[in-house]
């Protein structure tokens, strides 16, 4: 199941890091059902790396292949399909302020005419099921301005998932959660991964990132390092990585 490569990066360096990066370029393959986490200190450009991997920012070097298509040579039609299949969300992803919770989830799917696909009838029913699964407490009749940040974020995730993506790219996904609601959301995300969704995320929840990820990329302003397991992170003798893990204190344990 994990053989199909959805995102492939070759010698990639983001173009909008905002500082002079002299470290290694990124070589990466994200297969179906895989989880990759990007971790590292603050202001190390993790978000830029993620956005560049997703094809949303230009690179200064290297190539990104999204669903097999070179990101620098994408037609408008392919662009729409890729944006549906590689869903990028940051912690404050905006909802449409003039539409209620349910319509926010439905509008992109309706725009892409998913309601007309013969095998996918009852789009609204699927949206309601998805929202029920993600959080039954969300008031779907309210406008986003009257919802909590957590509910807004969950609606944004449901909106992206209704488009049937292959990859969910999450930038700092747990920023607005408390510990209880974060755990529920993490379980939801893990279930999606079990069902074949690929996940690539930038997070400050290092413990969760190390637990769930198949690959871990440590990014600093000077360099980046690859790890293929949690144990590899703890076993490495790279000072900046060791220092970062130690700074996380009792949050992370081998």
């Amino acid at each position: 199941m994990q053989n199909e490569t959805i995102i492939r990066c070759q010698q990639l360096i983001p173009g909008q890091l905002g500082f002079d990066y002299k470290g290694k370029a990124l070589d990466l393959e994200l297969g179906r059902g895989e989880v990759i986490s990007i971790i590292g200190p603050n202001y190390s450009g993790k978000g830029n790396w993620l956005r560049t991997i997703c094809g949303l920012e230009d690179q200064s070097a290297g190539k990104v292949y999204l669903e097999g298509i070179d990101s620098s040579d994408i037609s408008a039609e392919d662009w729409a399909k890729i944006r549906m299949s590689i869903a990028y969300l940051h912690e404050d992803t905006a909802l449409l302020s003039a539409a209620n919770g349910l319509m926010n989830v439905l509008i992109p799917a309706l725009y892409h005419r998913l309601d007309e696909a013969p095998e996918k009838p009852l789009l609204a029913e699927r949206a309601l099921n998805l929202l029920e699964e993600i959080d039954p407490q969300i008031n779907l009749d309210e406008l986003p301005a009257y919802l909590t940040k957590v509910h807004q974020y969950k609606i944004a995730v449901a909106r992206a998932l209704l488009l049937g993506p292959d990859v969910l790219a999450l930038n700092n996904p747990f920023a607005h959660f408390n510990s209880d609601s974060k755990h529920q959301f993490q379980v939801f995300i893990e279930n999606q991964v079990k069902n074949g969704l690929s996940l690539i995320m930038v997070t400050h929840d290092i413990s969760y990132a190390l637990d769930i990820s198949d690959k871990i990329i440590f990014v600093s302003r000077e360099d980046l390092f690859y790890f293929d397991s949690k144990q590899a992170v703890f076993d490495c003798d790279i000072p900046i990585v060791n220092k970062f893990i130690n700074l996380q204190g009792n949050q992370v344990s081998a």
Binding site: W79, A87, D92, H112
Partner: protein, 268 residues
Amino acid sequence: MSVTQIANILTGWPGRQLIGQVLYVINLVTFSTLALRDWFSKNRVFNSRSYSTTVAQIIFTGVDALPTISFLGLATGFIFTFRLISITNSLGGTEDIIDLLITIICLSVGPFLAAVIIISRTGSAIVVDLGNMKLHGEIEALENMGININDYLVAPRIISTAISQLAITVYFTVIALLTGILISALFVNPSHFTLILKISNAFTPYLVSIFVIKNIIFGYVIATVACYNGLRVRSSATEVPQRTTASIVQSLSFVFVIDSLLTLAIFI
């Protein structure tokens, strides 16, 4: 005037302003052409989301504006139509009444006042709406989901505003004419009731074409200027009122210029 003098003017302040305005018009034409191209290329005339956006905009611009339009139509009928008929009647030039009413009320005052209402009401609303969407990251989020902003937000607003401009001008003009004719028939000369029939007979296909084209151009330009300014908002909340003001001023200027050019084209 020598070539050097012309070059000096073009490189001086007036020249820069002129070049700036020409480039701005080119930007607007390109912007609206791309929006309509994306709309038609996706064949979304009756697609559920774009269609409903278009209908919602028509309701806001056309239907919701009817009370204001009705009031202004009644006032215009009293101020312009009735006075035109009275003055022409007192001068003995009853033959000219029809021409005057068609030229002034139907082809000039009606489209212009309807355009002013749409600029102040719909144009400003479009700028604030799109400006706030841009400011709050809603447009970025839509684009990240593969939604074409031209197709989903811009083109429906341009098309529906053009349609609404035409519809409310028809409504406004009918009210303004009927009000003026009724008042003059009641207070000046009952035979003026026949003006209603005479005006409808005098409206040739040529005049109807001019009326339709003029209003559609007005609506098209007003919405294009509004969408363009709304999407130029970048990251500060203060840009929204600035862009709104700019849109109103620019739309009014364009309406004046287009009205003048069309008048010249038609009557010279």
